[in-house]
Amino acid sequence: MTPRGKAIEVKEVSKDFGTFRALESVSFEIFDNEFFTLLGPSGCGKTTLLRMLAGFDTPTTGSIHLHGRPILDLPPHKRRVNTVFQSYALFPHLSVEQNIAFGLENLGWAKDRRLARTAAMLDMVHMTQFARRRPDQLSGGQRQRIALARALAPEPEVLLLDEPLSALDLKLRQAMRDELRQLQRRTGITFVFVTHDQEEALDMSDRICVLGQGRIQHLGTPNEIYEDPENRFVADFIGETNFLAVEVLEVTGDRARVRTPMGLEVTTFQKGAIAGQKAMLSLRPEKIGMEDQATGEVMRGRITNRNYMGGYTHYTVDVAGTEFRVSKRNAVTHGQSFEPGREVTLGFRQDSARVLGR
C-alpha cells in the first residue's frame, strides 16, 4: 500500500467541562481517503471530539491539524470540513435544492457552477425529483440523503458524520450503511464517523478508534479490535464475550500461560498480562463449540437458558458453577436445538481465547 497523507492529526487533546475531564490526552491520526470511526458508549467524548474537528468546541489543551495546518484558531465557517448532523439540521424554510446550494453560495461559487453541482449531488443520492420539496415533505431516509448531499457539495477535505443512522429504522439503516460506504469510496473523501453502534462500526470502517472514559482504549482495524482487543473494556464493548478470572502463571512474549478457576491451564495470546497476577480470559461465544463441534479443551456443563435469534441460537451453559454464553449458528438444514436442562459437552481451542491484563 502506498503511504497516504495525513488528513487530520489530533495531538494530546484534553477537554474539561468544569471539574469533569471529558477527554484525557487523546492523540491519533486520520489518513486521506479513510473511513475512520470514533466508537464508544454515550459520554465517552466521541461527539465532543467531532465537534472540535468542526469547530463548535475547543480543547482545553492540545492541537488539531487539518492537512498539516493548525485549525484551532479558525471559526467553523473557515474550516474546510462539513458535518452531517444527527438531527440532519436541514433548513426547514429552504427547499432541498436551496439547502444543498447553501454552502456553495457562501463559498462564492458562480450561479451556473452552483446549479450544476447541486444537480450532480441530487443525482448522486438519487433525489433529483425531490429538488423543489421542503425538508418536512421528505421521509427520514430521504432527509438523510439530502443532509449527505448538502455536506458533500462543497467538496470538504473531511466529512464528519455524527451518528447519522441512529434516527432510521433497522432495514433502512442497513441499506444506508452500504450506501455510505460506497459514497465514501466513490468520492474519495475522508469520512470521520461517530457512533455508539459497534455493528455499524465493524461493518463500515477502515479503522476504528474505541473511546471509553475519555481515553483511547484501542485503535485498529475492525478485525484487530474484535479478535485482539487491547483490554477488557474493548472486549466487553465490541461484541459479546465470556470473562474468566484467571491466574497468570507465565508470560513469554505475546503469549501467556494461565490457570482457570476450573483448574484448566491455557496458553494463548496476551495483552498486558503480568506473571503471578490476576488477569481475565476472554472467550467469544461463537468460539465455543457444542456437542459434535466441541474440540480442543473439552468441558461438561448443563444448559440453563436458550435464546432463539433466528440465524443463531444463544445458550447459557453452566460449567461447575461458571456460566458460559455459547452462540451456535443454525444450520443449513433445519438444525437441531438443545433443550434447557440438557447436559452438553463444550470445547474451545486454546488460541481462540485471549488473556487481558487490564
Binding site: A54, G55, F56, P75, P76, H77, K78, V81, N82, T83, F85, S87, A89, L90, F91, P92, H93, F102, G103, N106, L107, R134, D136, R150, A151, P154
Partner: protein
C-alpha cells in the same frame, strides 16, 4: 379518562353567561354608535352621523396620528432592542449574569406603571427634555421592550441550535447565519413580539397622560378627556372604529403566526 365536556349539566347557560359578561358592554357600544339620538342611552333610529362627526373632528384625528406615530416608532425600537437582547441571552456563550440580565429586561412588567411614569416624568424634566413626541416615544419604547422580548426569547429557546451550527458549518459568516437562518426561523416570534408591543403602546394611558402636553395627546388620553365632558354617541363611534382596527390587526397576526407554524 377524559370526560365529554358537553355533557355537563347547565353548560350552555354558563357559556352564554360568560360570553354575555365579556362582550355585552362592547355590543352595547357598537349598537349605540349607530344611534341617531344625541342621548347615548335612548334609541331613536339608525344613523351614521356620529361616524361622520368623529372622522371630521380634527382633535381626534390628531390624537390618532400621535398614537400611531408613537406606537410605530416605539414598536420598531423596542422590537430591535428585544431581538438583540434575546439573541445574546439565549444564544450567547459565557454570558455573565444571564439570569440577572433577563430580570432587568423584564422589570417593567413587574413595576407598577404609575411608579415608572412618575420617574420618567421627573427624569425628563431634570434633563430638560421638552419635545413631547420624543418623550412619548422614549417612554413607550422602554415599557414595550419586555412585551417584545418574551415571544422572541420563547421562539429562540424552542429552536435547536443545530440549524445555526449547520449554517456555520456550511461556511456562513455570523451575519449570514443571522440573516439567512436565525431571522427567518424566529420571524413568527419577532412578529408576535412586535404586535404585542404595538398594542401595549396604543393602549397606554398612565404614562401617556403623565407626559401629555399641548400638541401631543394620544388617543386614550383624548378619549379620557371626552368622557370628562360627558359621553356622546361620537365616543361610541370612535370606540367601534378602534375595535374594528384591532380585529383586523389580530386577524392578520393570527394568520401569519399559523402560516409560520405550518412551515416549521
Amino acid at each position: 379518562m377524559r370526560q365529554d365536556v358537553r355533557r355537563y349539566p347547565g353548560l350552555g347557560l354558563l357559556v352564554l353567561l360568560f360570553f354575555g359578561w365579556l362582550y355585552l358592554p362592547i355590543a352595547v357600544v357598537i349598537g349605540f354608535s349607530f344611534n341617531e339620538n344625541r342621548l347615548v342611552s335612548v334609541w331613536t333610529g339608525f344613523s351614521l352621523k356620529w361616524y361622520g362627526a368623529a372622522l371630521s373632528n380634527s382633535a381626534l384625528v390628531d390624537a390618532v396620528r400621535t398614537s400611531l406615530t408613537v406606537a410605530l416608532i416605539a414598536t420598531a425600537l423596542a422590537t430591535l432592542t428585544a431581538l438583540m437582547a434575546a439573541l445574546v441571552l439565549v444564544r450567547g456563550r459565557d454570558v455573565r449574569a444571564r439570569r440577572l440580565s433577563e430580570v432587568v429586561v423584564n422589570l417593567p412588567l413587574l413595576l407598577p406603571e404609575i411608579v415608572v411614569a412618575v420617574a420618567v416624568l421627573i427624569l425628563f424634566s431634570q434633563i430638560g427634555l421638552t419635545n413631547g413626541l420624543l418623550k412619548l416615544i422614549l417612554a413607550h419604547t422602554a415599557f414595550c421592550i419586555p412585551f417584545a422580548f418574551l415571544p422572541i426569547r420563547a421562539r429562540l429557546q424552542g429552536m435547536t441550535p443545530d440549524f445555526e451550527e449547520a449554517a456555520q458549518d456550511l461556511y456562513a459568516s455570523p451575519w449570514v447565519v443571522f440573516r439567512r437562518v436565525t431571522l427567518p426561523l424566529i420571524l413568527p416570534g419577532v412578529f408576535a413580539g412586535a404586535m404585542l408591543a404595538f398594542v401595549m403602546s396604543m393602549d397606554d394611558f398612565i404614562t401617556s397622560n403623565m407626559l401629555a402636553s399641548g400638541g401631543n395627546t394620544t388617543l386614550p388620553v383624548y378619549i379620557f378627556g371626552l368622557i370628562k365632558q360627558g359621553t356622546t354617541p361620537e365616543l361610541n363611534a370612535i370606540s367601534t372604529l378602534i375595535i374594528a382596527a384591532s380585529l383586523l390587526l389580530a386577524t392578520i397576526a393570527l394568520s401569519l403566526t399559523f402560516r409560520g407554524r405550518g412551515k416549521s
